[in-house]
């Protein structure tokens, strides 16, 4: 009974393994079941088995071991990977991380190389993650095992192989697998954030990329002009953004793994592109007919059509996850407020009723919730990030009293937001949980704006 419920997520995992990017993954010590495994409800059943109602699930991730250390370097690298994984798991916020001092207690009671489930249970662990690293040539091999402590069962085992320089991304991949297997939770450890920054030249802004945790910040553009408002393609392999490189702001595309870019929509001025969830369309604002209106273009720049027609400013579109509805900012009542409309421009309705000035809407990609975030000026204060829930019709405020907070964008799982704030001085990029907790600062240089959180890069087609 227990075993049956345990195997289902594993089957799903093995099926998913075929699709995974960047790393070769093999089933480890476990027998390989058929490749035609049904895509079931992933690990949800197993998650229920280890959960004690009302109690948080506690996870223990002791430092990974180096299988055959030649010197100091390998054990240090193994510990560094464990740190990344622990940080990723903590960020998700679905488990309580068992304090490391308990690890030593549990390990000291166990025979070397063996797992003593009773020892781990006695220190309160529900889940134990065990990892062994090995380096051969320029290859890094990591074996990871996930144990359900009270069931005394190794429920997940996988061997990962990557180039030795990719250990950090490999650790992120392991963390996402752990979250998926143990909690049916879609992690964001392999996601990245695009943003605009003037850190290189004061009077220019370039598009930059960074990992979701702020690591590996690097430029995408380097043209010395203004480059703003990036938007991710749903496959995480391209960005649409506006650039002033030829004078007036126009829409450009950057293909991240092909080293090429192209101008998408050139004539007149265009702003604030938003890539549709199916990747087929790009919504944007333009003054091509006079006022700033919302337009739709096919992702190759063709078939430009107009969606709004009003004397007021219409700008900053965002797509609902169903791909049929858009929200945007309009000042047609005299103040910027958030509106929604169908993809053909019909069925216009107002979304925001609180706040004197609302802009930069971001529709949550979550399929289980229906909510939208935006920057809101309440009374005469600076901006705060708020989230409007379409079901309850309630609006909750996520930031309060700490600088001006702008340009929210959702993590692909709808559980976190990235935004800018000047709470520490100049405009910097921060992330927080969707309830406003766990605020982390990701950038510290220059002035940074319009961060956008993207999906992990898909495999090339």
């Amino acid at each position: 009974m227990m075993l049956a419920s345990l195997r289902r997520p594993l089957l799903a995992l093995l099926a998913a393994a075929v699709l995974t990017a960047g790393f070769q993954a093999f089933s480890g010590t476990l027998p390989a079941w058929g490749a035609s495994a049904p895509k079931t409800q992933a690990a949800g059943d197993w998650y229920l088995d280890i959960t004690r109602p009302g109690a948080p699930v506690r996870i223990a991730i002791p430092d990974f071991r180096a299988a055959a250390p030649m010197g100091e370097a390998e054990p240090a690298a193994a510990v560094a990977m464990s740190d990344v994984i622990r940080d990723d798991i903590s960020f998700a916020g679905v488990y309580r991380m068992l304090p490391p001092r308990f690890y030593r207690i549990a390990e000291s009671g166990s025979a070397p190389g063996a797992i003593d489930y009773y020892q781990w249970e006695s220190v309160g662990a529900d889940i134990l993650v065990e990892g062994v690293t090995d380096t051969g040539g320029d290859q890094l091999v990591v074996e990871v095992r996930l144990h359900a402590v009270r069931a005394q069962e190794n429920v997940f085992a996988r061997r990962y192989t990557a180039e030795s320089g990719a250990s950090r991304m490999l650790a992120h991949r392991i963390a996402d697998d752990i979250l998926l297997q143990a909690g049916n939770y879609q992690g964001v450890a392999r996601t990245r954030i695009a943003f605009a920054t003037n850190r290189r030249q004061e009077r220019a802004k370039e598009i930059y990329l960074m990992d979701y945790d702020g690591h590996d910040q690097r430029p995408v553009t380097a043209n010395g002009s203004l480059n703003l408002t990036p938007s991710w393609s749903p496959d995480g392999r391209a960005l649409s953004y506006i650039s002033y490189r030829e004078g007036a702001p126009a829409l450009y595309l950057a293909f991240l793994y092909q080293g090429r870019g192209e101008k998408l929509v050139g004539e007149h001025q265009s702003f604030t592109p938003a890539w549709s969830p199916d990747g087929q369309w790009i919504a944007f604002a333009s003054n091509r007919d006079g006022q700033s209106e919302i337009y739709l273009a096919a992702a190759d720049g063709s078939e430009v059509r107009r969606l709004t027609d009003h004397r007021a400013i219409d700008v900053a579109p965002t797509w609902a996850p169903n791909g049929r509805t858009l929200a945007f900012t309009s000042d047609r009542t005299g103040q910027p407020q958030i509106y929604a409309m169908d993809r053909d421009g019909l069925n216009l309705r107002r979304v925001s009723f609180e706040g004197m000035y609302n802009d930069s809407a971001a529709w949550s990609p979550s399929r289980s919730r229906s909510e939208i975030a935006y920057a809101s000026r309440i009374e005469r204060q600076p901006f705060d990030i708020v989230v409007h829930d379409f079901e309850t019709r309630q609006t909750r405020q996520l930031t309060t009293g700490r600088g001006s907070n702008e340009s929210p964008s959702w993590a692909p799982n709808g559980e976190h937001l990235v935004f800018t704030s000047n709470r520490t001085g100049g405009d910097q990029v921060f992330t927080m949980h969707r309830d406003g907790s766990n605020v982390r600062q990701l950038t510290r240089d220059g002035l940074n704006s319009t961060p956008r959180w993207g999906n992990p890069p898909a495999d090339p087609p």
Partner: protein, 224 residues
């Protein structure tokens, strides 16, 4: 009328000069204005070239003995001038000047000369108030006088709005200024608009005065 609506680029040039030079510069400015009859105040660009001229001017005037430099040059004290000749000298100590044709200046100097003035806006507004219209009317008069000049009308916002909305608002401001210039007879094909949102504040400070001058339409001369 609020004089504070100008972005006083010419006066800031004056301010950067040392004090005595500044006085001479002001005199020269007045002289240029008188010489030019009722010509527009926008002849100020001459100030950019001023630092070379004052030595020549004051040296010939008899009143220069007030300074020690004049007194130590005896041949100049006798000078070869008769009293009649000295008395016959025109006011201004023999200084003559002519207005510089703005169109002979290079673009950077021309734009720095303050020939065209910025228009300011209220918060979250692209509407032109009386002061804004008056400035645009002066700008239009200048543009009609120099019909070869082409301009880029830049719309800017203060930092208190959001990045995205300000891109659209800056465009509204630029278009608002351009449309009024067009209504005053400036040909539309001489003007292009662009928005910079809140990306390029004129004053990077975070106070009311900075915000006030940052909410602007700037007329940049791009061809002449």
């Amino acid at each position: 009328m609020k004089t504070s609506t100008t972005i006083a680029r010419p006066t800031s040039v004056l301010r950067s000069l040392s004090f005595p030079v500044r006085g001479v510069a002001a005199v020269l400015l007045l002289a240029a204005l008188v010489a030019g009859g009722c010509s527009s105040v926008n002849r100020e660009p001459a100030t950019a070239r001023l630092p070379e001229t004052p030595g020549a001017g004051t040296g010939t005037a008899g009143s220069s003995t007030a300074g020690s430099t004049g007194a130590t040059t005896p041949e100049r004290a006798s000078g070869g001038l008769t009293e009649e000749e000295i008395l016959a000298m025109p006011p201004g100590g023999g200084v003559s000047s002519e207005a510089i044709d703005p169109l002979t200046m290079d673009l950077a100097d021309l734009n720095a000369s303050g020939a065209l003035r910025d228009v300011l806006f209220n918060f979250d507004s692209a509407d032109l108030d009386g002061a804004a219209r008056a400035i645009l009317e002066a700008n239009a008069a200048w543009l009609l006088r120099y019909p070869t000049v082409e301009i880029l009308v830049e719309g800017h916002c203060d930092e208190r709005g959001t990045v995205e909305y300000n891109l659209a608002l800056g465009e509204e401001r630029a278009r608002s200024a351009r449309d009024y210039l067009a209504s005053l007879g400036v040909a539309s094909d001489r003007m292009r608009t662009i928005t910079y949102g809140k990306e390029f504040p004129l004053d990077p400070a975070h106070d009311e005065e900075a915000w006030r001058i940052n909410r602007r339409a700037h007329l940049e001369i791009v061809a002449r």
